[in-house]
């Protein structure tokens, strides 16, 4: 049984396969309209979401499949104290594949141990978000025509930013990729990630201002400081507006920079940047639907083969 819990659960070749399929689906969506007819996707969102949940649902509906699920822990038996693994076992009797988001780190992995159907990690706390990374990879590849030989700047909350952790895991497998990690000291990338980069000889640096990194970036990946990850409101308030990207800060940026954001944004990208042709965050949203269509298809076809 294949699951997608961590982006590195898929080899580079398998990711290329998913991205290729997503490109074909964008080019000719009608050809895939009924390929998942009779299949059911369960979206189990123990934590709120707009884009991810709706894009999964839209993806399955676009493939001719059906969708069921819940949008918050309050509207599930978790509110009655049911364990996660019991919920997963139950839902496995109703659905062919599960996309789950949970505030606890590692929850999708724990669920996968007891699941009779494929589990997709749709975000686990501040840990990982592999399907956002598929979206990001697809966007970068479509914008740049490649995934290797580039400098990727990641800015904001790199400590709890699950999209950042997964994106570093994915991009670090391509030749010639360098990382510039832009954050305040309190929100630096977890040590296990930087240690992993060091062990594999992948170049990276940690800086505190966007301006010093800007001229050499090919990709700038902005993230939100997430209120829900802080135990202490005062820390959130102190750090939330550390970085605000505006047209002035982009003055020294490359002409072909790609400005990305997993969304939702709060203040970290000024709306004045939205019309800059280098801003691709709404393209990411569009790509997210197609790459999830490709992922659902890949995982269910793998099930059929076994």
């Amino acid at each position: 049984m294949r699951h997608l819990i961590d982006i590195t659960d898929f080899s580079v070749e398998e990711i290329t396969g998913v991205l290729d399929l997503a490109d074909k689906m964008i080019a000719n969506p009608a050809a895939y309209r009924d390929t998942m007819h009779g299949r059911i996707l369960a979206t189990l969102f123990f934590e709120p979401s707009t884009r991810t949940r709706l894009s999964f649902e839209s993806a399955m509906l676009s493939l001719g499949g059906s969708v069921l699920g819940f949008a918050s822990a309050d509207s599930s038996s978790a509110a009655k104290g049911e364990s996660l693994t019991d919920t997963i076992r139950t839902v496995g009797c109703y659905a062919d594949i599960i996309a789950m988001r949970h505030p606890k780190e590692g929850a999708p992995m724990a669920g996968s141990f007891k699941s009779s159907v494929p589990i997709i990690n749709a975000g686990d706390g501040g840990h990982n978000h592999p399907t956002q990374t598929l979206t990001d990879l697809m966007t970068i590849r479509r914008e740049k025509g490649r995934l290797d030989r580039m400098t990727v700047g990641l800015c904001g909350d790199l400590k709890f930013g699950r999209t950042v952790h997964s994106l570093i895991g994915a991009m670090s497998r391509y030749e010639g990729v360098e990382f510039v990690l832009i954050s305040p000291p309190e929100l630096r990338v977890p040590g296990y990630i930087t240690q992993g980069l060091r062990d594999r000889g992948i170049p990276f640096c940690e800086v505190e201002t966007m301006e010093e990194a800007m001229p050499r970036l090919d990709v700038l990946y902005m993230t939100r400081v997430q209120r829900e990850r802080f135990f202490n409101e005062a820390d959130y308030v102190r750090l939330k507006d550390t970085y605000i990207l505006d047209p002035e800060k982009l003055r020294d940026a490359k002409a072909d920079l790609s400005i990305m954001h997993p969304l939702p944004r709060v203040n970290e990208i000024s709306v004045r940047v939205d019309d800059d042709p280098r801003a691709v965050y709404f393209k990411q949203v569009r790509n997210g639907r197609f790459v999830r269509m490709a992922l659902i298809t890949t995982l269910l076809e793998a099930c059929d083969e076994h």
């Binding site: 364990s83 996660l84 693994t85 949970h102 505030p103 606890k104 780190e105 590692g106 929850a107 992995m109 724990a110 686990d124 706390g125 501040g126 840990h127 977890p190 040590g191 296990y192 240690q195 062990d199």
Partner: protein, 140 residues
């Protein structure tokens, strides 16, 4: 000081001095009904001082637990009063329910009955990592 040699059982040798009680606890040796001898601060040419545990019964030892606590330990299997096998340990690749994840954001803090599983991330630095949340636990 003399402790009788055992006819059939297990001798845990080369325990770092002072660690024997920890091993006694981790291996649940207090639950055994046979004789168990803990010998502390024995003179050793190689180690200076060491501890030894003698167990007067052939029990199943969790070598992963033992390897995690002290990979330098030698496990001697005794039959008919003679050593018939010497097992040398190493840090195990995987630890199940030996150490606990301290990350309050980890699913192990919320899900009842979930095994606490760590994998060896860096043998040289003796670092383990929770398989669920990647929180590191450095041995020591």
């Amino acid at each position: 000081m003399n402790i009788d040699s055992i006819k059939r059982g297990i001798v845990l040798d080369h325990i770092r001095a002072g660690r024997s009680m920890e091993i006694y606890k981790y291996l649940h040796l207090d639950e055994l009904e046979c004789s168990v001898a803990i010998i502390k601060n024995v003179k050793s040419n190689a180690m200076g001082r060491k501890d030894i545990i003698k167990i007067d019964e052939d029990i199943t030892i969790d070598l992963d637990v033992l390897g995690y606590i002290d990979p330098g330990i030698t496990v001697n299997i005794i039959e008919d009063g003679r050593i018939v096998e010497k097992k040398h340990l190493e840090l195990p690749q995987r630890l199940v329910n030996v150490i606990r994840c301290k990350n309050p954001r980890c699913i192990t803090s919320a899900e009842p009955g979930l095994d606490q599983i760590f994998r060896l991330a860096d043998r040289e630095r003796q670092v383990y990592r929770c398989i669920y949340c990647d929180t590191e636990k450095k041995k020591g």
